[in-house]
């Protein structure tokens, strides 16, 4: 691992998960010998960590262990100018079957695999299938039951690699009326909207939710809607969110065929 990062790819820093006296934690190392007991089997969003540490390492190339979803998260970051692509070195990690199963991941293989064996994607998320088949009422009841468990701990936002805001608007009163717990439906609906053009389906929100709300399922359902309506899939450094751009080919548009 250290060899690939420092020697082969000329990294100055390496962001990874490693085990230290029994605890697994993310670490940023600058010397090969610090690599210690690397853990590739822990599905944690290193990109979320990268956001915090990036400013602390003003110089040099940063290598980070990237699964496909990390890669896409990184793309969402770079296109917003949070990190400089030039400074990033991606060390591709293909997810294990177990991890893929856990994330119901439909896109598990990074563009370049350095570690791990490429495995088949899981095409569908059963729960979303089931929910889509339900009557709206049943679906509502399902989510109400789920969201009732929410105790507004903000683990989902804090661990989300594509939640960029320092303090979340959902912590304020403006859109989320009840101060109390649970926060009411608008909390999760508004969060869904905020993520709809950038969620890369890493599943971190779901994994970190103490109430075990199937948030990844909600993400996946809306990702499908976004793709259906605007043909847009987050995670591509070259594309911008369709929600802020103009309709193509309409009057007043530059070089439209109307005018």
């Amino acid at each position: 691992m250290a060899r690939v990062a420092f020697d082969e790819r000329g990294a100055d820093h390496l962001l990874l998960m490693r085990e230290e006296h029994g605890n697994v934690a993310p670490a940023l190392i600058s010397k090969g010998e610090d690599v210690g007991d690397v853990r590739l089997d822990i599905p944690y969003q290193l990109i979320t960590i990268l956001e915090t540490v990036y400013s602390c390492v003003p110089k040099g190339k940063i290598a980070v262990i990237t699964r496909r979803c990390d890669e896409k998260a990184l793309a969402e970051l770079t296109k917003r100018g949070y990190v400089d692509e030039e400074r990033m070195i991606k060390i591709g990690l293909a997810c294990s079957r177990e991890q893929i199963a856990m994330c119901r991941c439909s896109d598990p293989v990074p563009s370049k695999v350095d570690f791990g064996e490429p495995n088949k994607p899981v095409p569908t998320d059963e729960l979303s299938e089931r929910l889509s088949k339900m009557s709206p009422d049943a679906r509502l009841q399902f989510w109400v039951k789920q969201f009732r468990k929410c105790n507004k701990c903000f683990a989902c936002t804090h661990n989300c690699p594509v939640c960029f805001c320092d303090d979340c608007v959902l912590e304020e009163r403006t859109f989320v009326p009840e101060q109390g717990i649970p926060p009411g439906l608008s909390f999760h609906m508004i969060r869904s909207y905020h993520l709809i053009d950038k969620c890369i389906e890493c599943g971190e929100c779901e994994r970190s939710c103490p109430a075990e709300i199937p948030l990844l399922t909600l993400r996946k359902m809306l990702a499908r809607d976004m793709k259906e309506i605007h043909g847009f899939v987050p995670g591509d450094p070259k594309t911008v969110s369709p929600l802020n751009t103009t309709l193509e080919g309409e009057p007043m548009e530059e070089e439209c065929d109307e005018c």
């Binding site: 509502l140 009411g184 007043m252």
Partner: protein
């Protein structure tokens, strides 16, 4: 039963076209159901989906977003964004089990008093058919 249900409806109208259209409807004395409460904004593109989701999750029975026709936007392409955002908000409602018909996007020009009347009347009827917003009951 359905008929005596009087929905509470919120409408966002852009200052330049749809609010003017609403005024024209008034000047022309076009009668319509009294359930719709208009909030004037400068452009339909300034309507945050957050408002819509907030209102509906607090029990408002329906939300209308009205803007200029595409091409007529006072801000050139503001309403292009509206046209792209609202359908996704409708999906968020759908996926959580709230009928997406409770949110409607339409275009009303400053000369379309009659269209404003029709949009309001039809939407009120649609929402009446849907019945009260289930989230009125779901208090938590």
């Amino acid at each position: 039963m359905m008929t005596d249900f009087r929905p509470t409806i919120l409408a966002f109208c852009c200052n330049w076209c749809s609010y003017a259209g609403a005024d024209l409807a008034g000047v022309s004395r076009l009668q319509m159901p009294p359930n719709v409460h208009v909030i004037r904004v400068m452009c339909s593109a300034s309507v945050k989906p957050e408002y819509v989701l907030k209102a509906l999750s607090q029990g408002v029975d329906g939300v209308l977003v009205l803007g200029c026709h595409i091409g007529d936007c006072h801000y050139m392409t503001g309403n292009h964004r509206t046209a792209k955002r609202i359908p996704l908000v409708q999906r968020i409602l759908k996926e959580t089990g709230i009928d997406e018909k409770r949110l409607k996007l339409d275009w009303v020009s400053a000369a379309e008093g009659e269209k404003f009347q029709k949009v309001i009347t039809d939407f009120v009827q649609d929402v009446q058919k849907l019945g009260p917003n289930p989230l009125r009951e779901v208090r938590f």
